[in-house]
């Protein structure tokens, strides 16, 4: 999109600023007059370009921990390094202008137009007008809002979802190496929330920012995080791991409870169909000899022939009668519906399988051609991280 205009990119952003690693070293926050620290010896490292989600029940210090990174809350003890440099090396103002900041209520300035809102930090840094205008244009396109229609409006003239997008654009204005996001989608209705999450993840593939993302919602954490830090009361780190690890090997009872009893189901959101070693069905075409079909059945994982058309697109599962004679007839026991796509997450694929008659799902590639078969058993094995064994034949026989 905007990258297609090289002149614009070069004037608008300090071409592709590197994401920074973030390191918290034994960070403590003790508020004056309180006995228990809000954050207690928290150490974690976020590799450059990854999303680290801080999650936990209310009062676990997750927001405090995030706010210490840009010194909205001062550190009592320990240190925080951004790109290897201590956050205390600079004044809080200089530091904050280098770090993107998005909060739940967005906090757009109601008295400024959208363009001026986005231009807040560039103006503080003294960018010239042309550079600011070009950057605003670029950012509005990036968050999929029409610059012409949006630029001169006031925040009150936008919907909640649009305001949230502007909040993200504003935080990205100077292409900061690190972003802090405090429940950024918390105030959005569930449908738009999911859309914004997906949109943000797609954006992140391009931007590769280091991001600290705070939420109380474990499902959001699993979806958004490359790594998840679960905090418990008193700001102590319960577990810091990748989502799959967290779901498969919760460190203690607290994590287990917090993640919930449906850990296995939640893992379905982490895997896609392409991650699964699929079964092969005997694919036959109309008019093929039954001898050839029987030969294919011998070798196949699934013991039901799948009728495909000329291009290899699935039509349906053949009945026994279909290959009783000399040649295969189009006599189906059921249609091959619904089909599953390689990019579907297992949770969605499982829902499809449960709805189909044979509980098999034909997996199709981008051209709609059958490439394999997904079964409920395979989904189950995928969840447990067991290499799928080819025992489908027996399963079908019973």
């Amino acid at each position: 999109m905007n990258a297609s205009d090289p002149a614009q990119t070069s004037t608008a952003s300090p071409a592709g600023r590197q994401a920074a690693t973030l390191e918290l070293r034994d960070v403590v926050k003790l508020y004056p007059g309180q006995e228990e620290p809000a954050v207690d010896h928290l150490s974690l490292e976020v590799p450059a370009g990854e999303i680290c989600v801080l999650v936990g029940p209310s009062g676990c210090g997750k927001t405090t921990a995030m706010r210490m990174v840009n010194r909205m809350v001062e550190i009592t003890d320990g240190d925080i390094l951004v790109g290897g440099q201590s956050v205390t090396d600079r004044t809080p103002y200089e530091l904050r202008r280098e770090i993107g900041y998005v909060i739940q209520q967005v906090g757009l300035f109601p008295h400024l137009t959208i363009a001026d809102n986005i231009a807040t930090v560039p103006k503080l840094l003294g960018w010239d007008r042309d550079r600011i205008a070009a950057r605003v244009e670029e950012l509005l396109q990036l968050v999929q809002l029409d610059p012409e229609q949006t630029r001169d409006r006031y925040p009150a003239q936008l919907s909640g979802g649009q305001r949230q997008r502007i909040g993200v654009a504003r935080a990205l204005a100077t292409d900061p190496p690190l972003m802090l996001m405090d429940e950024p989608f918390g105030a959005i209705d569930p449908i738009n929330r999911e859309r914004l999450q997906n949109e943000f993840l797609r954006l992140q593939v391009e931007l590769r920012k280091t991001i600290v993302f705070v939420t109380h919602d474990i499902d959001e954490a699993i979806k958004m995080g490359d790594r998840i830090a679960i905090l418990k009361q008193g700001g102590r780190l319960a577990q810091y791991a990748e989502p799959a690890e967290l779901l498969m090997n919760p460190a203690d009872e607290f994590v287990k409870d917090f993640v919930g009893n449906d850990r296995a189901l939640k893992r379905l959101a982490l895997q896609r169909v392409r991650d699964i070693d699929l079964w092969q069905a005997p694919m036959v075409r109309k008019g093929e000899t039954t001898a050839s079909v029987r030969q294919k059945l011998e070798k196949a994982d699934v013991k039901i022939p799948l009728l495909v058309d000329e291009d290899g697109c699935p039509i349906g599962w053949l009945s026994d009668r279909a290959y009783a004679g000399e040649e295969v007839k189009a006599d189906l026991r059921s249609r091959a519906e619904p089909t599953v796509e390689m990019d579907d997450i297992l949770r969605d694929a499982l829902a499809d399988l449960l709805g189909s008659e044979l509980q098999y799902g034909v997996v199709v590639d981008e051209q709609g051609r059958a490439t394999g078969v997904l079964s409920i058993e395979l989904v189950g094995q995928g969840v447990h991280g067991v290499a799928p064994a080819r025992t489908g034949a027996d399963a079908l026989a019973t």
């Binding site: 103002y93 739940q104 906090g107 008295h111």
Partner: protein, 215 residues
């Protein structure tokens, strides 16, 4: 022509005698409101930065406001003498309360999340005040300014007690003569309405965002 009657002919012939008092009145009002605005603004910023001073400062202007107005003009005479200065001091003191209150309310009404995002992006406290808090407090500040202006136009009719002239003197000099009272009083009303609409126009021009609605 009846002695006490209303006589348009007389008004036309004697128009000149109202010109000076009118401009005196304008001067008294505008100067005291402008000075009052500046003092209230400083007080408001101090009260905003140091919350403990909020109560005492607002309280002080309240006390000034409760002094009976004729008394105020006379009380100052031993100190600042008979004339415009005494009148201006009294009028300024009266104007403080409405403006300080509205400024304090306006600044306190700026939502926390907006201030948080401003600080989080690296605005200094001074930038926060000038770029965010004051602009957002403008509707309240203007409301206070309007009340103070209109009130001061009224109070300035007593400025003649301190020897500062104004339309009050014209009214007082021939209080039983209807034509005189109507003209002098009418000019007061006109001045109040004019000032009010002038400030309203300024407010509209400087706060376009308050009329922005989802379309």
């Amino acid at each position: 022509m009846a002695e006490n009657g209303f006589c348009p002919e007389w008004i036309v012939q004697n128009w000149d005698r109202y010109v000076d008092p009118f401009f005196q009145h304008v001067l008294l009002t505008v100067v005291s409101v402008v000075i009052g605005f500046a003092i209230a603004a400083v007080m408001a910023v101090v009260a905003h930065r140091r919350r403990r001073l909020n109560g005492p400062l607002v309280g002080l202007t309240e006390v000034l406001y409760t002094i009976p107005s004729p008394a105020a003009f006379l009380l100052l005479l031993p100190f600042t003498g008979f004339g415009t200065v005494s009148a201006l001091i009294a009028l300024t003191a009266y104007s403080l309360n409405a403006m300080l209150r509205s400024m304090v309310t306006g600044l306190a009404g700026v939502p926390e999340d907006i201030k948080d995002s401003a600080r989080g992006m690296g605005l200094t406290e001074r930038q926060l005040l000038w770029k965010v808090e004051l602009p957002l407090a403008l509707p309240e500040i203007f409301a206070g300014l309007r009340i103070a202006s209109v009130t001061t136009v009224g109070l300035a009719t007593l400025a003649f007690l301190a020897g500062a002239g104004g339309l009050g003197e014209s009214i007082e000099s021939q209080i039983s003569f209807k034509s005189n009272v109507v003209v002098a009083g009418g000019l007061c009303v006109l001045l109040a309405v004019a000032l009010d609409s002038l400030i309203r126009t300024l407010q509209k021009a400087s706060t376009p965002w308050t009329r922005a609605r989802l379309t």
